[in-house]
Subunit: 346 residues, 2 copies
């Protein structure tokens, strides 16, 4: 039925080992033999059985992406699509296949990971987003499996990770608003158990402090990475007796919610409320008005994560002392949503 290495060998009049060596570019194969075998492989339409190869080589040439549990939410965020695109592109260039996986619950997630890694279906894993405490990270680390984190862990500092300097990014975003003349600046945060939420909040705080601006606790609200959270935050802020003139928003998607709310109430952006958010997803530029955003190079983040993981798998970056944490530079893209200074008020 399917043509195996033996069939090729027989037809070429050599042994299977020779064919195998031709395949892997072994040095001690004569040019002539190599050429002949190759042409026969071509002719017979031979494709090596990846499973058999994996079985003996104990290596699968594939990696998996683990999406954290509330996959529905995350999947609808263009952020992840960009990340996945970066990963798939790089992996494919390195000859790796990418498996994509998500579990409904944290337990399922862990089961899936251990099935894939222990069952030797993949050589390593990329984890997207890090919770403050993560059983999957523990599992991978304790079992010595290669993995990289997109984000960071505050439990371990010796694991491979690719991340944005979120503190600095938030610092920059806030400073931009301050430099536009804003003094009353609010912050719409994400779930408190995500490190990214915390880091960005911290950056906002630092920037406010450094400029000697008041830091009211009522100007900070928490939510999810969903439009609805933005919507709710917006109505909370607009009902405040002393409301902010500008907002730093933890994710573009959340900004869309803020924007929608403001539109419904006939407020205008940036005149009534200026906005800066994070991630610069492709649609940030397309909303009305376009949203100022911190471009964190999502694609690049994914691309690098894949690169780092594959190097780790091939044991090219395991000497102690090597960088384990890769920071992808960010930059602020100023658009209409923050292009106006606030009206004088006090």
């Amino acid at each position: 039925m399917t043509v195996t290495i033996k069939d090729v060998a027989r037809r070429a009049g050599v042994s299977p080992s020779t064919v195998s060596r031709v395949l892997s570019g072994h040095p001690r194969i004569s040019v002539e033999t190599s050429r002949k075998v190759k042409s026969i492989m071509e002719e017979m339409g031979y494709h090596p059985n990846i499973m058999a190869k994996s079985l003996v080589s104990k290596t699968t040439n594939s990696i998996c992406i683990i999406l954290p549990k509330p996959a529905e939410e995350l999947f609808t965020n263009l952020f992840f699509m960009e990340l996945i695109r970066g990963i798939v592109t790089q992996a494919s260039r390195s000859g790796y296949d990418v498996l994509i996986n998500s579990g409904a619950t944290e337990k399922e997630e862990l089961e899936a990971v251990s099935r894939l890694l222990k069952g030797r279906r993949v050589d390593g894993a990329i984890l997207l987003y890090s919770r403050k405490d993560d059983a999957v990270i523990d599992f991978l680390k304790n079992n010595g499996y290669p993995f990289v984190l997109v984000g960071r862990s505050d439990k371990y500092d010796d694991i491979l990770s690719v991340d944005t300097d979120n503190l600095m990014a938030a610092y920059d975003a806030t400073n931009h608003l301050i430099s536009m003349g804003h003094k009353r600046i609010g912050f719409v945060s994400g779930p408190p158990n995500l490190i990214v939420s915390r880091d960005r909040l911290e950056g906002y705080r630092k920037a406010m402090e450094h400029s000697g601006l008041e830091l009211k606790s009522e100007w900070i609200v928490e939510g999810e990475f969903l439009q609805d959270s933005g919507y709710r935050a917006m109505s909370f802020f607009m009902n405040l007796p002393s409301r902010p003139t500008a907002l730093v928003v933890v994710d573009d998607i959340v900004s869309f919610g803020v924007l929608r709310g403001l539109n419904e109430l006939n407020y205008s952006v940036p005149a009534d409320l200026a906005l800066v958010s994070f991630n610069n997803i492709p649609l940030a530029e397309l909303s009305t008005p376009p949203i100022s955003s911190i471009d964190i190079g999502i694609y690049h983040l994914g691309y690098t994560a894949s690169q780092v993981l594959i190097q780790a798998i091939q044991k090219q970056n395991n000497e102690p002392g090597l960088t384990r944490r890769f920071i992808i530079p960010h930059r602020l893209i100023v658009r209409e949503s923050s292009m106006l200074s606030p009206a004088r008020s006090e």
Copy 2:
């Protein structure tokens, strides 16, 4: 090192075959043995080696998604993310892993597919989007590999496919505008080599004809599934001596481009130009104004595709005479972008 079936067998005082049978729920295993073996597997942290299993069973319990070549473009479209989400969710429920793959060129694409299928790394494939002539489809069909097409082929009518009735969807969209009183209706189409573009265009044509409305060729423009195409189409239309009062747009993303252009020129939607598009991606609802869209159940499309493929792999739907073409129902979601009748003009 890693614990194998033999280790478990030895420890349990049985043969590897028995352990294997326990694993697969073979009927002729005593309850007692089964329980003992299971507890030992648990205790030793045994996970079957998937590669070894695949090698002998000639089945991998995984499928792959093939994204067509201009992956960059497609990846940034939420459409694909939704589709992938549906596929991954269903596959995971059926115990299948999902591999995601895209090639830079058509040739690379074909290579990847044949490597995966011939190399027996996956049991079947899901193809997203169908071009009018597709080498990958030919390859899969000629080699008898299980696959399903999201979209349709006009070359073969006996292959498994999951699709929207795009002709009817466009018919409905156009009729909606007609029922709002529009008479001058334009169409922004996609690449002409995609079947979906053609079908939607055809539906638009039919609806116009049935209502006895004029069908000017200058009211039909072609583009890509990108915002820019919408932008360009918009400026083309607005410069026309006799411009349409409403547009049927082949994809929401393209509508965003139209919208952006209209905003820049201070036109208002729907007053100056009403809009209906397709796919109803999550952001259609969030734009200003929200866009009327044909919801084609993208997630459901993906979910069904996975289901159909896995059934085909397990040979549950291969008898001749069975449905090979699954149509997912669509429905029109009317939003602000089409909620106004046109000003009287002629």
